[in-house]
């Protein structure tokens, strides 16, 4: 490392440092009340002198040597003011030497941006733990060591920072915040594609942040609730009944929808007729109108003393409103667009040429539908059924008006909240949340993995 042209400058820098040290030593020595701590500092400064001499004649790494001299001197002077006791001050010096070493390594081996990130991180940590928080020197040391360990890779550094921010600024939900941050980071770093640019990554990051702000309540409720409370709630007969009723009514509603929406979806997908566009937009009506409005409309038509409601009661002996028939009706009404639109999209995705091929091979329309269109649309139909099922099971507004009892799960939450308030309701909410999520992911998993082997397209 004996670069000859550097020699005069190098010697000058070290001489300046040495002069400074001598000045400091003289300053300390002149003071009359020297304690043990200051003697230690004098020793340190003397050691530094030796380092300086070695730097001049030994041609060691100027950055490390010079930095070391500077650090030791600074700690000798400021250590007492920064740290509460000499032990912490010593530890701080050791960690700073580590930081110095890592910084020099990054400066000489990696792109400059890494070095700037490193320095900025150091300053930010200093700001958070020394300036913002009181008595946090020990934490500062801990996180500095984390910084030293992760600074070589921007990716690790990003993970380190999310950890730091989660546990300092995101109290009292550090684990939830950490989970969200790490998920976003992982997605961002894993994102691939021809259009992978800073812009598209920023779009992704911003979008994911919003998505997770919406997911945060879910996470907090799921992680925050005591399992014991959930178990207690689950043992209540009323809750059990409501859940079971929800399960079977939603399933029955999905079955009815399948019976109508699969044929209708196929027909709309394959036929062109006047009013087709109008029909396609009419499908969306149940999504557009408020659920309470939907509920009252249903009551107006199918309720007691209304034309169709009375007709039904006279024919079958039971009324629609206030019974499971009403629940089913409301669920079918709100879930219909989800099933029908999925069916439509699923059949649209089946090329008509394949059906033509089936016809020319001798298949009558029935065979063509059951052997080509239905199997190829199967996965999309199943996904549509899952969506419709979830929508039906979760329906509250419309059900409330036409059949507030017998209770379904969403109505049970509402009744409990009105009767006993927020904190008594959260275990039930957590339970339902857990239940719906498990159900939804399970069905999605079935649709995406098990059925994908069958619906593989060329």
């Amino acid at each position: 490392m004996s670069n000859f042209s550097l020699k005069p400058r190098r010697t000058m820098i070290v001489l300046l440092l040495l002069a400074g040290h001598l000045g400091l030593l003289a300053l300390l020595h002149m003071r009359s009340d020297i304690n043990l701590f200051e003697y230690f500092n004098i020793l340190l400064l003397a050691a530094n002198l030796v380092i300086g001499v070695i730097l001049i004649f030994g041609r060691r790494n100027l950055l490390i040597g010079g930095g070391l001299m500077f650090l030791i001197a600074a700690h000798a002077l400021l250590g007492q003011r920064l740290a509460p006791d000499s032990l912490t001050s010593g530890a701080l010096l050791m960690v700073n030497i580590l930081i110095l070493y890592v910084g020099v390594q990054i400066y000489s081996n990696l792109p400059l941006t890494h070095f700037y990130l490193f320095v900025a991180s150091y300053l930010a940590l200093f700001g958070i733990f020394i300036l913002l928080m009181e008595n946090a020197e020990a934490l500062f040391l801990l996180f500095l060591m984390g910084l030293a360990a992760t600074a070589r890779s921007p990716r690790l550094l990003a993970y380190f920072w999310t950890l730091t921010l989660s546990f300092t600024l995101c109290q009292p939900y550090p684990w939830e915040a950490l989970f969200i941050f790490w998920f976003i980071l992982t997605v961002l770093f894993d994102a691939r594609g021809k259009q992978r640019s800073t812009l598209s990554l920023v779009f992704l990051g911003v979008g994911l942040t919003l998505v997770f702000l919406m997911l945060l309540p879910v996470l907090i409720l799921l992680f925050g609730e005591d399992l014991h409370n959930i178990e207690l709630i689950l043992r209540e007969a009323r809750v059990q009944e409501a859940i079971i009723r929800t399960l079977w009514t939603a399933t029955a509603a999905t079955g009815v929808l399948a019976l109508f929406c699969i044929p209708l979806g196929y027909a709309i997908s394959r036929l062109r007729f006047r009013g087709r566009t109008l029909l396609l937009s009419l499908i969306d009506i149940p999504i557009v109108i408020p659920q309470s409005v939907a509920g009252i409309m249903l009551v107006r038509v199918f309720g007691r003393q209304q034309v169709l409601g009375d007709l039904f009661q006279q024919t079958f002996g039971i009324p629609i409103d206030g019974t499971v028939i009403g629940i089913l009706l409301a669920q079918i009404f709100v879930a219909m667009p989800f099933f029908l639109k999925s069916a439509l999209a699923a059949f649209d995705a089946v090329p008509e040429e394949l059906e033509v091929a089936a016809r020319t091979l001798g298949a009558p329309p029935r065979g063509e539908f059951s052997r080509v269109a239905l199997p190829l649309a199967g996965r999309g139909l199943f996904l549509g059924a899952i969506l419709a099922w979830a929508r039906a099971a979760g329906e509250f507004g419309a059900v409330l008006f036409i059949a507030a009892s017998p209770e379904t799960a969403p109505i049970a939450v509402h009744n409990r909240f009105n009767a006993v308030g927020l904190f008594e309701t959260t275990p039930l909410v957590a339970l339902l949340l857990l239940f719906s999520l498990v159900m939804f992911f399970l069905l999605q998993f079935v649709a995406r993995t098990l059925m994908s082997s069958q619906g593989r397209t060329a």
């Binding site: 020319t360 091979l361 001798g362 298949a363 009558p364 190829l376 593989r456």
Partner: protein, 348 residues
Amino acid sequence: MSAIIKMKKLTLRLGEFVLGPVSLQLGQGDYLVLLGPSGCGKTSLLNSIAGVYPVSQGMLALEGADSSRTPPHRRGIGYVSQTPNLFPHLNVRDNIRFGLAYLDLPEGEIEAQFDRIVALLGVGHLLAQSVSTLSGGEARRVALARSMVIRPRLLLLDEPLSMLDPNARVQMLDTLFMLHQETGTTTIHVTHDREEAWAMDEQCAVMLRGRIVQQGSVEELFRNPNSSTVALFLGGTNVFPATFRTESGQTMAELGWMQAELSDPFAEEEGYVLIRPEAIVFAKSQGEADFIGKVKRVSGRGAFSIVEVEVATGINVTIHMPYEQAFRIIPGDQLPLRLSLPLHAIKE
């Protein structure tokens, strides 16, 4: 024995496009190559024969019975479209077996038929595979097997060689030959590629703008195109307007830059002549030359070269000559040229 398929003034309206009227008749075991440029209505014609498009007017009879209203699955026609359209949810075996469920034959015969077609088309080693793993040529073979296994009385092939690499094209041509020899299935083979028609060397019909304009053997079409549009489509780039003069049974054509005898007497006064690019050769001397051409461009095509010469302002003649004769020619040369065959006249 009546014709397998008979079309009489068949017309098809598809929005703006009108196909036909088309009249066509094929007997048992015939193989017809339907040749036409892209967009001339070849595929629409196949679709209406298969029953995918309804016939607007005219008659379509299959084995003597009017079939213009028969739904596609009762027509007994095998239709291999331009894309193989294999069923992605079924493997190769189940794709080929798809139509067998609707075949009214004893079990043993169905299996025998399946085995025979699979062996003929050489797809036995693919049976267990998923169709997404097949190459273009393999997928085409499987689609062919799927249509042949139902013993169609008529096989429709839409561009069976398109999008295949040169080796796969040669193999597919051999397969089509062999398949026709072995099964004797009446076939309509649609293509836009005249080389493909030459290679099949069967009956050929030329279709232009929704109509069949000429039908005959490939040789006949090649030698005797009945109009300048057919001649141009079939690759005769040298089609020129001419006036004719007949004296004592011999017709002379006057092209302005050349006078030449016709092969046969020709009654009209005005029309066109077709000069085959390979029927022009070097003249030994200026006196023997029919015309002089100034070379504009020489390009190689393997064994022969294409030489483009200007014979008068704005009039270019294309000549095909053996490579060893053409390689010394450079643009700007003045070549004495003569015709090695008499000219052929076309009315319109």
